[in-house]
Symmetry: D2
Subunit: 155 residues, 4 copies
C-alpha cells in the first residue's frame, strides 16, 4: 500500500448522496470518477491543464487499464482526501496511482486505484511515445523521480 | 396525468443497482437519464436516429427546461416501461412527455417528465425553427397530431 | 430569475469530466446531482445535517417535483457556485431553489432549479407537517423569512 | 482474453448518451456499472436473485477488487453484449469475469473486467466462507466447473 506521505497531490472530496448505493457505501464504479477528478487536478498541478495543454503538444491520454482495491468502504458525507501520483513512467504510457483516505485517518487508504494511461495522437488515436514536455513536468513535480522504477510498456 | 394508452413509444428499462440511493429508491436525477434513453429511442422510432439524422438536416436539440413529478418510487430491479410522446410542437421547440410505469401496472405513472427541447444550428447553437422534415416525422408517428394543442414558444 | 444576492448559501463546485456529454456540456440530469449536493450543504448550514438530525426529529424528506431551467451551459472544468435557499415553506412541504452561477459571473444563473420536498414519517413514508424545529432553523437562516410568500401545499 | 463462447450469460446493453464523455467513448468508470448489471443478471440466471436470495441464506457480497482492461472503445448507441461467468471459486470469494462485445463482432472483447467478490455476513460484514448453496448453483450453471482452477484466497 502506498503511504499517504508519498502523495504530493491531495484533493479534498466529499461523498455525495447520489454516489452511495443500497449497501450504504459508495458504489464501486464511482471511485473511478474520483480517480478521474484526481488526475484532472494532477494535470493542473503539474502545469498541464487537460485537455488544452495536451492538445497544444499533440497529445491525448486514454485509460488502458484500471484496477481498484477496496480495503474499506467510504460512506455518505465522508470527507476524503483523494491522493495521486505518477507511479511509473513508461515509453508510451504512465501508471497513475490513487489513494483515498478518510480525512484525519491517513494511516491506511480506504481505496487504492491504479490507472494505466497511454499517450495517443489526438487525431488518429494511435499510440505515441510520451511527450518529453509531459515527462519533464512529472519529474519536476514528483518528490522522487518515478523513473527509477521499472518502466511500464503498454504498447 | 397522461394515460399509458396515449404513448405510442414504450421502452422496457430495468432499474440498476447503481441508480438507487440510500432511501431505497432511484435517485431523483437518474430519471432524467431514463428520459434521455426514451428520447433517443423516440428519434430512432420516427426514423431520425440521433445525432446522425439531425446533423444531416442541420439540426441539433438542446434541453431548455425539464420537469419531473415523482408520484411514486421506482426501486431496484423494477421493470419499467418508459413511455414517450411529443406533447406539443412549437415554432422552434417541442415538448417531449415521458411517463414511467411499472410493468403490468399501467393505470398510473410512477414518474412523469416533461422536457422542452429547442432546435439549434449545430455550429452556432443559435435557435432555429424546427426543421419541416422533423415536424413531418413526428406528425406521422403520433397517434393524433400534437399540432392542435397550444404551440409552445421557447424563444 | 432569483438574483445571486438572495442566496445565503453558496457552494463551490467544479464540473467533472464524467459529468459532461458529447454536446460538450454537463448532461442535463447531472444538475440534479448538483442540486442534491447543495441541499445537503443547506441542511448542514442550518444545523440539521441530513439524515441524522432529521431522523432524530422523526422526519425524512422526499422530492415530489423537480424543475430545471437551462439558461446557459456549464462545461468541463467550470468553477460553479451552486446557491440554494428555501423559497417557500408550506404545511407539509417546502420549495428549495437553486441557482448555478459561473464563478465571477454572478449577474445571471446558468441553471435554475426548483425542488419541492415533502416531509414524511421515516417508517411509514406518509406525509407529515413540517417539523417545527426544521421550520424554525430555516426561518433563522434565511435573510428574510420565506413565510411571507404564498405557502405551497404539496399534499 | 476469455473467448465469447466461454460465457454462458450474455446480456444485451445499449450505450446511453449520458454514459459517453467528451472523448466520444464510454467514460471509463461506467463500465463498472455495466459489470454490475451483468452480475445482477447472473445471480438471477443461477436462481439466486440479489439481494433477496442472498439474505435468505445469510449472505451478502462485496467487491474487494476490480480490474478493467480497455482493449477498444464503446461509443454512443453501441449495442453491446455484456457477458459474465464465474472464473474461480475460492473459499470466501469468487472471481467474476466480464467480457463486453459489440453485437455481431464477437471475436474480441472491447472491454474485459474481473471482479473479486467476497462473501460476508450481512449484519457484521465479516468475511464468511461462500455458502454451499451458492457454490452449487454456480457449478450447475457454468458449462465447465470453475473449481478446477486455482482457488482465489481473498481473506
Amino acid at each position: 500500500m502506498t503511504p499517504y506521505e508519498k502523495y504530493r497531490l491531495r484533493i479534498p472530496l466529499r461523498v455525495r448522496w447520489a454516489e452511495v448505493d443500497l449497501q450504504g457505501v459508495v458504489f464501486n464504479g464511482n471511485y473511478l470518477t474520483y480517480c478521474d477528478v484526481c488526475v484532472t487536478e494532477y494535470w493542473r498541478a503539474i502545469g498541464m491543464p487537460y485537455p488544452a495543454a495536451f492538445l497544444e503538444i499533440g497529445s491525448d491520454m486514454f485509460v488502458r487499464k484500471a484496477t481498484l482495491e477496496y480495503h474499506a468502504a467510504a460512506v455518505f458525507d465522508d470527507e476524503l482526501e483523494v491522493c495521486g501520483r505518477t507511479g511509473r513512467l513508461g515509453r508510451t504510457s504512465l501508471v497513475f496511482q490513487v489513494g483515498m483516505f478518510r480525512r484525519g485517518s491517513t494511516d491506511s487508504a480506504l481505496i487504492e486505484g491504479e490507472l494505466v494511461y497511454v499517450n495517443v495522437d489526438p487525431s488518429t488515436r494511435a499510440t505515441r511515445p510520451l511527450p518529453e514536455a509531459l515527462r519533464q513536468r512529472i519529474r519536476e513535480f514528483e518528490p522522487r523521480s518515478p523513473e527509477g522504477e521499472r518502466a511500464h510498456d503498454a504498447s
